[in-house]
C-alpha cells in the first residue's frame, strides 16, 4: 500500500468522524433530524469504503457478510411495525454489541499474544459487547412480550452477578499475563460465556416500566464496545463514533433516571416492587367515581382546552389512531388540544411521541411535562389514557410512597380529570393512586381503544 492510499484512507476516517458529529448534532432538532440521520449514514458509507481499501486480502467473506447483513437489515427495517419499534431498537442495539464481541474474539483468535493494551481492549470489547448483546436480547423479549415484563428475581441475584463479574476479572488478569496456549483459550471462551450470562442476569430482574433506563444504558454499552474495538484496531474512527454513542446513551440514561427520581443503581439492582411484600399500601381513602362514555362526552363537548396524557396502556391497546381522531374532533369542536408526554411514559425513551407521530399527531401538539405543568390549573379536561404512575399525585403528596419525589404530570390540578383504565389494578409500581379517588376525577373503565372509539361515535352522532 502506498503512502498516498494510506493518507486517503485516514482522510476518509476523519471525514466520517466529522459527519457523525454533525449528524448527531442535527438529530437534536426536529426540522433537521432527518437530514442529520442521512449525513451520519453518509459518514458510515465513507468509513466502510475506506475500510475496504485497507481491510482485506480476501474479499469473499467480506462481501458475503455485507450482502447478507444488508438484506436482513433492509427487510427488517421495511417490515417492522411502528408499534414494535422498542423491541426493534433493542434488537439492533444487541447486534452492534455482538459484532464488537466477535471482533474481539477474532482478534484474540488470530493474535492471542498481541501487546498488553490491545489484549485489555479485546477483553473490554468482549465483556461490554457481550453484556450489550444478551442484555438487549432479554430487553427485546420483554418488550415483545415473549418473556414476562415483570421483574424476575433469582435468589441471591446480586451475589451471583458479583461472583460472575469477579470471575471475569480474574480470568482477564490470567489472560493479561498468560495470553497464549490451550488453557488460555479456554479461559477466554469462559469469559465470553460469563459476559453473555452477565447481560442476561442484569436485565431479567428489571421490570417493564424501567425499560427506558435499560435501553438507554444498553445503547451506551454498544457504543463503548465499539470504542473498545477501536482500541484493538488502533483506529480513531471507531473510538470517536463509539464514545459519542457511549456518551449520548449515558446522558439519556441520566435523563430517564431523573424522570423517575431514582438512581441508576436503584433501577439496576432493586427489582422495584418485585415481591408482593414490597408494594407499600398507602391505604388511599375514598371511592372512584365511574362514568359512562356518554357522560364523558358531555364533559369533553363543553371543554375549551384538553390535555391528553398517554401511557403504556395506550400502546398496549393500540389506541393511538383512535386518540388522534378524538383529538381532531375536539379541535374542530373549538377546544385547544395538547398531548402531554412524561419522559418515561412507555417502554423506551420517547415511545409515546413515536406512536402519536405515527398516528399523524402534529409535532407542535406533543408537549413536554415541564411545559404543561405550569398551565395545568387552566386546563378544562385532562384525559389520562393508560398512564398511571407518571400521573400519580402520591409522588407529590405521600412521603412514604415508593415513588415519592418522582416528577409527575400534575393532571389532578386540571378542572376535570378523565381516567381511561382497564380496571382498578395498581400500576407497574404496585402503588395505590390517590388520583382515582380525587373529587375532580372520573373513571372510564374499559379497553382504551374501545372507549375512545365510543367517545368518537358520540361526537359523530350529535
Amino acid at each position: 500500500m502506498t503512502d498516498y492510499t494510506q493518507a486517503l484512507i485516514d482522510l476518509g476516517y476523519i471525514a466520517a468522524s466529522i459527519l457523525f458529529i454533525i449528524g448527531i448534532k442535527m438529530l437534536g432538532k426536529q426540522e433537521r433530524a432527518r437530514k442529520g440521520n442521512l449525513i451520519s449514514a453518509l459518514g458510515m458509507l465513507i468509513a466502510v469504503t475506506a475500510a475496504m481499501f485497507e481491510c482485506c486480502l480476501d474479499f469473499t467473506w467480506v462481501i458475503t457478510g455485507l450482502v447478507i447483513g444488508s438484506l436482513i437489515g433492509l427487510i427488517a427495517a421495511r417490515t417492522v411495525k411502528m408499534t414494535s419499534m422498542p423491541q426493534m431498537v433493542a434488537l439492533l442495539n444487541g447486534f452492534g454489541g455482538i459484532a464488537s464481541l466477535l471482533v474481539g474474539w477474532a482478534n484474540y483468535h488470530s493474535q492471542p499474544d498481541s501487546n498488553l493494551l490491545v489484549r485489555v481492549a479485546v477483553l473490554l470489547a468482549v465483556l461490554i459487547g457481550g453484556v450489550a448483546f444478551s442484555g438487549s436480547l432479554v430487553a427485546y423479549g420483554k418488550l415483545a412480550g415473549k418473556i414476562s415484563g415483570r421483574p424476575i428475581l433469582v435468589k441471591r441475584q446480586a451475589l451471583i452477578n458479583i461472583l460472575m463479574l469477579a470471575a471475569v476479572l480474574i480470568g482477564s488478569l490470567f489472560l493479561v499475563f498468560t495470553p497464549g496456549g490451550t488453557i488460555a483459550y479456554g479461559v477466554f471462551l469462559l469469559i465470553v460465556v460469563l459476559s453473555l450470562s452477565l447481560g442476561v442476569f442484569s436485565v431479567t430482574p428489571i421490570g417493564g416500566a424501567d425499560m427506558p433506563v435499560v435501553i438507554a444504558l444498553l445503547n451506551s454499552y454498544s457504543g463503548l464496545a465499539a470504542s473498545a474495538a477501536g482500541f484493538i484496531l488502533l483506529n480513531n474512527v471507531l473510538i470517536v463514533a463509539g464514545s459519542l454513542v457511549g456518551a449520548s446513551g449515558l446522558i439519556l440514561t441520566g435523563i430517564m433516571c431523573k424522570a423517575m427520581n431514582r438512581s441508576l443503581g436503584n433501577v439496576l439492582f432493586s427489582g422495584f416492587a418485585a415481591g408482593p411484600g414490597k408494594a407499600v399500601s398507602t391505604s388511599v381513602q375514598g371511592e372512584p367515581k365511574p362514568i359512562t362514555a356518554e357522560d364523558a362526552y358531555y364533559v369533553l363537548e363543553a371543554a375549551g382546552s384538553v390535555v391528553i396524557v398517554p401511557g403504556y396502556g395506550m400502546a398496549v391497546a393500540q389506541a393511538q389512531h383512535a386518540v388522534r381522531e378524538l383529538g381532531e374532533i375536539l379541535e374542530n369542536n373549538g377546544a385547544e388540544v395538547r398531548y402531554a408526554i412524561h419522559p418515561v411514559a412507555g417502554r423506551m425513551p420517547g415511545h409515546m411521541n413515536v406512536l402519536l407521530a405515527e398516528a399523524n399527531v402534529l409535532y407542535e401538539q406533543l408537549a413536554e411535562m415541564d411545559d404543561v405543568n405550569p398551565i395545568m390549573e387552566s386546563v378544562d379536561v385532562c384525559m389520562v389514557i393508560g398512564a398511571n404512575d407518571v400521573v400519580n399525585p402520591a409522588a407529590r403528596e405521600i412521603e412514604s410512597s415508593p415513588i415519592y419525589g418522582m416528577p409527575i404530570i400534575n393532571v389532578d390540578k386540571a378542572k376535570t380529570v378523565l381516567v381511561l383504565k382497564r380496571s382498578m389494578a395498581a400500576g407497574f409500581a404496585g402503588v395505590d393512586n390517590p388520583l382515582f379517588v380525587k373529587e375532580n376525577t372520573r373513571m372510564l373503565f374499559g379497553d382504551a381503544k374501545a372507549t375512545v372509539q365510543q367517545l368518537v361515535a358520540q361526537f359523530k352522532e350529535s
Partner: protein, 96 residues
C-alpha cells in the same frame, strides 16, 4: 498510533458527545437513540478487517458473522430512524 493519543481522542470524544446530546427535546429521544445506535455499528470497520484478514477458517467465520451483525445494525438502524423521523410532521406541513 500511540495508545496515549488514542486515549486522548477517546476522552475528548466523550466530552463532545455530552455537549452534543444534552439539549435534545424528549420528543426526539427514540430517533436519537436509534440513530446513535446505527452509529455504534461503526464496529463494522473492525469486523471487515477481521473477516478479510485471510486468517484460518474459524477466524474468517468469526469475522464474517461480525460483519453480518454489524451490517444489520447499520442498515437497519439508519432505515428505521429515517422511517421514524419521516413521521414527525409540523403544521407548516412539508410533507415529504
Amino acid at each position: 498510533m500511540s495508545f496515549g493519543l488514542l486515549f486522548f481522542v477517546f476522552v475528548l470524544a466523550i466530552f463532545l458527545g455530552v455537549e452534543l446530546i444534552s439539549k435534545v427535546p424528549s420528543q426526539l429521544h427514540t430517533p436519537l437513540m436509534s440513530g446513535t445506535n446505527a452509529i455504534s455499528g461503526i464496529t463494522i470497520v473492525g469486523a471487515l478487517t477481521a473477516a478479510g484478514s485471510g486468517a484460518d477458517l474459524l477466524g474468517s467465520i468469526l469475522g464474517t458473522v461480525a460483519v453480518i451483525f454489524a451490517t444489520v445494525n447499520v442498515v437497519g438502524g439508519y432505515l428505521v430512524t429515517n422511517r421514524m423521523l419521516a413521521m414527525f410532521k409540523r403544521k407548516s406541513g412539508e410533507q415529504k
